[in-house]
Symmetry: C2
């Protein structure tokens, strides 16, 4: 049995580690979705949820809402279009923007998911995290906020720009 260096090295490998856990969680989430017989990828859900919450959004707004870059949003939106869950049309006032909205099929999926799938996933994750010492979600938020204030490179002691 080999030691898990990422775990052993602590803060040094926290990036790798968060990613690794995130990937694992998403894979597990996918399994729950598949078991429910839904033809959708876990990573596509936030897009649908964003539109459901805020109404039709442009590609750029979707990218912001789900926290990825614009080309990624373009691609995932293309997949959702292909699957028939969303519709896309130029914004009336600005032909550059494409407004992405839910189709009836997409709204059905969201409604069903909100009722059946999402609570199940959230409950499973809560169960997993329930026994933790601290409020993990707030800590993640604090990390995100901290990174927004000053990236790691600006926190490494070599460049004391006092």
């Amino acid at each position: 049995m080999v030691e898990d260096v990422v775990r052993t090295l602590g803060f040094l490998c926290m990036g790798s580690r968060l990613r690794r856990i995130g990937e694992r969680l998403q894979a597990d989430t996918q399994q729950v979705i598949d078991e429910a017989g839904l033809g959708i990828q876990a990573g596509q859900y936030p897009f649908l949820a964003a539109i459901d919450r805020a109404g039709p959004l442009t590609i750029g707004e979707l990218a912001q809402a789900v926290g990825i870059t614009q080309p990624g949003a373009t691609r995932t939106t293309g997949q959702l279009l292909e699957l028939g869950y969303v519709d896309m049309q130029p914004a009336p006032d600005d032909q550059r923007r494409r407004l992405v909205s839910l189709t009836a099929k997409g709204q059905d999926l969201v409604d069903y998911s909100k009722k059946v799938i999402w609570p199940r996933i959230a409950a499973a994750v809560a169960d997993l995290c329930g026994d933790l010492d601290g409020p993990i979600l707030e800590q993640l938020a604090a990390i995100e906020d901290g990174l927004a204030v000053a990236p790691l490179a600006r926190r490494s002691p070599v460049k004391e720009e006092t």
Copy 2:
């Protein structure tokens, strides 16, 4: 300004969120490495650290040590070979196994990194996480252990296999 749905949805999107933060941290880490003028990728470091800690390891052991799948380990090892940081030769007792070891150049890089780079990165991450309520590293460990015991699908209430 559009709301961050991944953040808003909490436990439901924790997978995406952890991944997102991990990617951001790794990108920031890469910047620190680049500023130090080292020609290496952040994701390659755990491989070197694993060999440094445990001595020569096989591809499979490396995969285990850094927590990815074997094909990923094969690829990254190939890159490190190309860069001249590691050497690879068949295990004497079993021709299927390939023992990966540090070259002099690789050991130099590790020694320098241990002294200069890694403490800098670890300090920056610790600074980022310092003000948190709870011990984030232990919480991550608890999540990993929890997933090992029962994946999400086995924690979702639909399949009560009592």
